[in-house]
């Protein structure tokens, strides 16, 4: 009897002791929020024959492989760091055409054309980008304030950006409001097509090159004879001044050196103000409306895009050619609406409409529809379709169609970049998303808890076709997990 009583006491003591140990766990461990990680890979390929580098014709073959990683590191309460890094490696056939010619090209006059000896810009480029932000969350006020800074770097463009975003939830109305202000400053290394690059930049002015007269009066024009930039022609001034007679690009006086060569520098600044209000309609429907305002200033054309003119000349190397010239200011407005509806227990409908307008006379309509279907509780298949139609800018014309007289181009701007033209496009595809119902991932040595918990795996494919014949395929993969 005594032995039995002793055993019972021992058993009860053991249970109580373990129970006390559980209750003595530190408060921080109970409330610890996991680190969230998202890994994204995207492969994109396209082909077309309206390359803007070649003035509106030529291969647009391009492949791009992007890897991105996003991290959310919680700090306290609902606050935390947001870190995003990525690398984008792309190959573009059109970049080879930047230096298809070297030496000045004159229309109709004697020429000194040399076939290109290789592009200053490799057709194989890599862009690095990243950003860091911090969520200042206020649980009582249901708000999050996030300052962010970031960068992007590729061969000819270096960017820095900064932004502020504010998100607020109104629980009584069940409304979410998000607003964000971003500023991006790009520094462009200005690479002109090969036939425009005998020009060298000197302090305070631009050398006119062989036989040329200096533009700002302080450069030195060496040599004699009449070249493309020789005195008596207005081509140099036509190319390098805009409709308001301002030097184009702006004479920053700065240069940057790359591979032993000096290139002039110009800047682009983009200001964006984005807003979205999201609200619940009923237990199966919600919607959102958004407004984006964007102002861009500075170099908005692409320095190595050509524009050929309608001069009756059929030999490409003798045709009148200029560098793409676009206004140094652009204001964009887009209004968007979203509507989501859970039709049945397994099928939902997601839709989005966007209306766009800008100061370059581009108007556009974009509509997207998706139908996520839950095959199983953890697996969703989503077919989707997107339609886009835009009225192009009045500055656009195709290869060899621009008229060069001042009367024909009253604004003084011209481009053969078909991305800015009248186009329609269709995109169709499907996505798979797997969300593990139970904990799925890598466990610790004792197999008591997950040290890596997979939250979702996504795969997405899209086929894109544009009215001018451009076709593209893209595949994206995402892995989201918690640590």
């Amino acid at each position: 009897m005594e032995i039995i009583f002793t055993l019972i006491v021992l058993l009860v003591s053991t249970v109580v002791a373990f129970g006390q140990q559980k209750n003595e766990k530190p408060q921080e461990e109970k409330e610890k929020r996991p680190v969230k990680v998202s890994l994204l890979s995207n492969y994109y390929e396209q082909d077309g024959d309206r390359s803007a580098v070649n003035g509106g014709w030529g291969s647009q073959k391009l492949t791009s492989f992007t890897q991105e990683a996003g991290f959310y590191i919680p700090v306290k309460d609902s606050s935390g760091y947001k870190l995003h890094v990525g690398i984008d490696h792309f190959t573009a056939a059109s970049l080879r055409m930047i230096d298809k010619y070297q030496g000045p090209v004159a229309s109709g006059a004697s020429t000194t054309i040399v076939a290109g000896q290789g592009s200053s810009v490799s057709e194989d480029e890599t862009r690095y980008f990243g950003s860091i932000g911090y969520d200042f969350a206020n649980k009582k006020k249901h708000s999050i304030f996030t300052p962010t800074i970031g960068f992007s770097k590729e061969y000819d463009v270096a960017s820095i950006n900064g932004g502020l975003s504010f998100a607020k939830y109104f629980p009584k109305k069940d409304i979410h409001y998000v607003t964000a202000l971003n500023i991006i400053r790009d520094r462009w290394m200005v690479i002109y097509p090969g036939e425009f690059r005998p020009i060298t930049v000197t302090d305070g002015g631009v050398d006119g090159g062989t036989g040329g007269s200096s533009y700002n009066g302080s450069g030195s024009g060496s040599g004699s004879g009449s070249g493309y930039y020789g005195s008596g022609t207005d081509y140099y001034n036509q190319i390098f001044t805009d409709a308001n007679n301002r030097r184009y690009p702006e004479p920053t006086g700065k240069t940057v050196e790359k591979n032993g060569k000096k290139f002039p520098v110009d800047y682009r600044t983009s200001y964006s103000f984005s807003n979205m209000v999201a609200f619940t309609i009923n237990k199966r429907m919600n919607a959102a409306v958004g407004l984006d305002l964007v102002l861009q200033k500075g170099l908005l054309s692409t320095p190595f895009h050509r524009v050929y003119f309608n001069d009756g000349v059929h030999v490409d190397s003798l045709k009148e050619v200029r560098i793409e010239k676009l206004p140094r200011e652009r204001f964009k407005v887009s209004v968007s609406g979203r509507f989501n509806y859970f039709l049945t227990n397994k099928l939902a409908l997601r839709s989005q409409v966007r209306l766009y307008a800008d100061s370059w006379d581009i108007l556009a309509f974009t509509g997207t529809i998706e139908a996520p279907y839950k095959v199983f509780k953890s697996l969703t298949v989503t077919p989707f379709y997107r339609f886009h139609k835009q009225q192009g800018t009045s500055y656009y014309n195709g290869y060899g169609r621009h008229e060069s007289s001042p009367e024909a181009i009253p604004a003084g701007y011209y481009t053969s970049d078909i991305d800015l033209a009248y186009i329609t496009s269709n995109k169709i595809g499907a996505a798979l998303r797997f969300v593990p119902f139970n904990a799925f991932g890598i466990s610790d040595e004792d197999d008591t808890k997950k040290i890596l918990n997979v939250k979702s795996i996504g795969l997405r494919y899209a086929y894109y076709k544009r009215s001018d014949g451009l076709k593209a395929n893209t595949v994206s993969f995402e892995l989201a997990f918690e640590l």
Binding site: V178, M276, K332, R350, L355, A364, A472
Partner: protein, 72 residues
């Protein structure tokens, strides 16, 4: 081109303005689903970025609006 689009927008506003009802926490199982997310997912944004370079329009879903790369 935009006449029918204005109708769609107006219809949307009408539906939403007259039909909002408060939803209790225990009735939110559909609203909490990923399919009802009010915004593009990160995988969707990544895909859309590539196509935004091929068109003159941008904006919506807090995606790319211009600048930050050697693009339009």
């Amino acid at each position: 081109m935009f006449r029918s689009k204005r109708c769609i927008v107006a219809l949307l506003l009408l539906v939403t303005a007259t039909s909002c009802e408060s939803v209790k926490a225990y009735q939110r199982q559909y609203l909490k689903d990923d399919a009802m997310q009010q915004g593009a997912s990160s995988i969707e944004k990544s895909e859309n970025e590539a196509f935004s370079y091929r068109e003159g329009a941008s904006g919506g879903d807090f995606g790319k609006t211009g600048g930050g790369c050697g693009c339009n």
